[in-house]
Symmetry: C2
Subunit: 327 residues, 2 copies
């Protein structure tokens, strides 16, 4: 089936905005909300690197949109629209494309982020998918990684490491806990939380590479040391024996953020209002890098910070590489 026919057959029906111009033109046209800044992100995922060949195409589409919207959430932005870059393998079936398009349309509806354009190519060795998501926010209000101050608390949403557990289950070909597998396949971007953190959080990032790696990114950008209390990091009961795996597995798509201690009551209220667990896991201090401490305050070794894909094989990022970057 030709690329143009695939677009007409499967993607035109799921476009949800006049900005798409029926996918008939060379580009989409979008009037941004007056006086709002645009927040723009672009994440790629590839089969065998970021998703498994057996993952249902609908969930691959959901994950592609969700990982991008998680970036918007970390900036405090509201989704506006997205573009798809669909790179098909030589052996990708039309059925896979149809299911992928269905899943993408459902995810775009769920997160109010209409598909307005993109590109389809074929002939690759495996599917490689790219998405560009646009959000909007009030001028100057975007959350950054660089705004933390000494004395600020460090917070994280949700439970850390569940996606990693889900991936481990899938790799073991185990029936496993559907909730954990869903955390890997269909993450939920923390959009409402991110928007509510504008004016509360001093710095924020999403947890994609692994909690410690993303905490380190805030430490580097803010020029501070972030102290994380190991026992306060919310992990699944299956991770209790090995919390460091949970803190480095990545793919959580939770938000990690810093906030002044004076905002603790407001954050507790926010947690209840949104129905999202918020855990205070540490504090910001002068210095640099990340320090992991136990309940007595004794520093614990950090053997790795997160997960980074390199040279075709997932590789645990070494603490050495981390320290080169100031971690």
């Amino acid at each position: 089936v030709r690329e143009r026919a695939l677009i007409d057959r499967y993607f035109k029906p799921v476009t949800g905005s006049p900005a798409a111009r029926g996918l008939a033109d060379d580009a989409a046209v979008l009037m941004p909300p007056a006086g709002r800044e645009l927040v723009i992100t672009k994440d790629m995922i590839a089969q065998n690197v970021h998703f498994l060949p057996d993952d249902p195409p609908e969930t691959v589409a959901h994950k592609l949109l969700a990982v991008n919207l998680s970036d918007l959430a970390a900036m405090g932005a509201t989704p506006l629209a997205c573009l798809l870059g669909l790179g098909l393998a030589r052996d990708t079936s039309e059925r896979w494309v149809a299911a992928f398009a269905t899943g993408l349309g459902a995810a775009c509806n769920r997160f109010t982020c209409p598909l307005i354009g993109g590109d389809t190519i074929a002939g690759l060795d495996r599917p490689v998918l790219s998405l560009t998501a646009f959000g909007h926010i009030g001028p100057g209000q975007a959350l950054a990684r660089s705004g933390a101050h000494p004395g600020d608390d460090v917070w994280v949403s949700g439970t850390i490491g569940e996606a990693g557990l889900g991936l481990a289950l899938l790799r073991q070909d185990s029936a496993g806990d559907p909730a954990l597998i869903a955390r890997y396949r269909t993450p939920t971007p923390r959009l409402a939380l991110g928007q509510a953190l504008v004016g509360l959080a001093s710095a924020a990032a999403d947890v994609s590479d692994g909690l410690l790696a993303d905490v380190r990114n805030i430490a580097i950008a803010s020029g501070l040391q972030l102290v994380v209390n190991r026992d306060d990091v919310p992990v699944h009961s299956l991770s209790a024996a090995d919390p460091s795996a949970a803190m480095t597995a990545g793919d959580d798509y939770e938000l990690v953020f810093t906030a002044p201690a004076g905002f603790r009551p407001r954050l507790v209220t926010l947690s209840q209002t949104l129905g999202v667990k918020l855990s205070r896991i540490g504090r910001c201090a002068p210095g640099s890098g990340v320090v992991l401490v136990d309940a007595t305050g004794a520093p614990q070794p950090i053997l790795r910070f997160g997960f980074e894909h390199e040279s075709g094989n997932g590789r645990q990022e070494s603490a050495k590489a981390g320290s080169e970057e100031g971690g």
Copy 2:
């Protein structure tokens, strides 16, 4: 080398805008020009499908930006910013990445389209590159494929088929004409022409899939028949013996557009002002599809319309497939 290190080492230096936030945050933040619409496009290119393994990385980067800016040109838009999706193969060298980044920085400077963000992944079987380009235009002014009227002229810029000749030379491993090879490797988007056509052209598209295929897109979108005078299509002397190859090779990144006959004098003046050849190659009529005629007006067979990549092998798109779409 880790993905983050590649970004810091090679791409951070070529970002050209505060919108990039030093590539330190989860997303870029951009204030769009007040009262302007955004024009947004996203094109992917893959090694062995859209560029050759021996193409210099600098020219691959140029081409990636240029094919996207050509879409903006076809809409009449002015470039604003771009995001890169860099998918590296397992065996992509750091030197390739460095040269690619250098080429991208030079192209972004040349076309005033700063890089403001993106994503890098690794572990693919071959490089797969995605770019999202943003432009801006006055509200409602974007050119479309759907605006042609019966009686309008059909025009094309530049010379058609030269990129196809350049690709053929490269495949023959011939030293060849550097100008033709440059047409394949480093196309020039017709940005100034596209912007000048706002208010003159009734419909426009860029010539990417092949002149006849792109003319057909205008015919379909406008609900008209486009009659193309074969002998008026500007081709290279090497294509004189086989003009149909030139009209279907694609990768030209010229603009094909329609305009009322009353604008002929203004278009001749525009051609002189911009130093861009404009050729009147046909007219719009009631009906549907594309008709190719010789100097006597006799219809000529169209065996194919353009070039589309499918199933890993470039395939000449058949006229049958074309007629299914209404061509």
